[in-house]
């Protein structure tokens, strides 16, 4: 494996972390909650895609994959919105720790429901893409890697356009910055929060399908690790800042890949969590995080 290959592998896994990190950071930005159930939304997405692809045997596999992606997005979006309405909204005006503990509870609930339905054992994720690697000069890059990076980057560009160009996207930014002032503009805060959870969950669903395509074994607790790493990516980039989550995701992926390649694959996770400790010690607001100052 050349250095460039390691970097590309890092960008592959990093783009998935980035997609998931966007959900953490958007939700944190708007309700100041670390949504610990976000990782388990990945699991929901993977199981949904797995069920759909196993059921739709008659179709070509890539058509099945496409339908599975859409289904995963739909199911995850529904989960995200319902979880917010049922579990977090009633706690919106209480202490923050209450919602945080609830998020951990929701996470455990989702994992246990999945164990009841699908058993606690791992299941294979159907392999949908059998395309030979693409050769670029001396290098060969797997098709899945190219697809993952392309889809992720397109989704991120789409999200940036959404929050800067559309009315509801701008409302999301307004609510993130000042909820009361946003209400005084006539913005429905509850609707805006629901939209935020919906988008974050849809991105997690895409991340889930791409993740499981690369690592095709799924298990009810599978969301924990990528979820945690994506959370660290969000903190590294600056939680609440969208480009920060993207940057953080890519950096985390590359750091992990280089560690796996040049030190030892046993050190990959250690380096990732080491990054969290360093960020919290050196720059807790993250790379792109900003300290807002008030003008009088």
């Amino acid at each position: 494996m050349t250095f460039v290959n390691q970097i590309i592998n890092g960008l592959h896994v990093g783009s998935i972390y980035a997609l998931i990190a966007l959900g953490y950071t958007m939700v944190y930005g708007i309700v100041k909650l670390i949504n610990f159930a976000h990782g388990d939304i990945i699991m929901v997405g993977s199981y949904t895609a797995m069920v759909i692809m196993t059921e739709l045997t008659g179709l070509p596999l890539w058509v099945g994959l496409l339908i599975a992606m859409l289904a995963a997005m739909l199911v995850c979006t529904t989960f995200g919105v319902v979880i917010e309405r049922v579990a977090y909204k009633p706690l919106r005006n209480t202490q923050r720790i209450a919602a945080l503990i609830t998020a951990i509870g929701v996470s455990l609930l989702l994992q246990n429901i999945a164990q009841l339905i699908f058993s606690p054992n791992s299941l294979p994720f159907p392999v949908a893409i059998r395309v030979p690697p693409v050769a670029i000069g001396e290098m060969t890059i797997s098709f899945i890697t190219l697809l993952t990076i392309t889809v992720s980057v397109l989704l991120m560009l789409g999200l940036q356009a959404f929050v800067h160009k559309t009315k509801i996207g701008k409302a999301m930014r307004a609510v993130s910055e000042d909820r009361d002032a946003a209400q005084l503009m006539g913005i429905n805060v509850s609707t805006t929060i629901s939209v935020t959870f919906a988008i974050g969950s849809a991105l997690a669903a895409m991340g889930a399908v791409l993740y499981s395509t690369a690592y095709p074994i799924i298990i009810p607790t599978m969301g924990a690790m990528p979820g945690l790493k994506a959370f660290i990516a969000a903190v590294l980039g600056g939680i609440g800042v969208l480009p920060g989550a993207m940057l953080g995701g890519f950096l985390m992926g590359v750091a992990e890949s280089l560690t796996n390649g040049y030190i030892s694959s046993q050190w990959g996770d250690a380096v990732v969590f080491g990054i969290l400790i360093v960020v919290l010690l050196v720059k807790p607001s993250g790379i792109l995080g900003r300290r807002t100052s008030e003008k009088v």
């Binding site: 307004a174 910055e177 807002t292 003008k295 009088v296």
Partner: protein, 234 residues
Amino acid sequence: MLIVKDIQVYYGAIHALHGISFEVQQGEIVTLIGANGAGKSTVLKTISGLLRAKSGDVVYTGKSLRNVDPHNIVKLGLAQVPEGRRIFQQMTVLENLEMGAFIRNDRAEIEAGFEQVFQSFPRLKERRKQLAGTLSGGEQQMLAMGRAMMSKPQLLMLDEPSMGLSPILVNEIFSIIAQVHQSGTTVLLVEQNARMALSIAHRAYVLETGRIVKSGDAKELMDDDAIRKAYLGH
């Protein structure tokens, strides 16, 4: 137009408003004056729905606002310029104004709204692409007012528009308030700067520790000895 009936408001255990009643007629400029902590901002927040009264009622054009959400109160034609401006610092000037027009959908009308705001505040036009957080304090106050005007309110409520501004800027802001009023908007003005507020208003209410202690014609209050001593400094 607006009737506030005996509202009692609490912040947790703190009793902030002890039965406030007043009204604003269409076409008036009414001011609530009083010292820091008298409860002036609390009154405005209760009217706009950010705070709820424990008892009493707020009635706007015959409709009780008791169970109306803040974002729907705006749609009834009430806009508030909050204390401390509360502009969206990470958004551009133009985006802030767009948020002000959130309840409106007609693109042409919104564009006309921009033009109107830029006419009142030419400085905002120059800076329309800038992040609002980079504006000076005075410009931020102008933006906060422009943003509220974008919803085309029938009743505009302003909370301490003079706060932290130089005397020249205060004069500028108050002349804009007078213009907005002349164009047909009713104004409810909360101010610590009693002299400026009384000079522009038709009627005034004086708030002290959560109670209205005096009310009347603004000119008469300006000549009232007790008011002069307490709020006008001589």
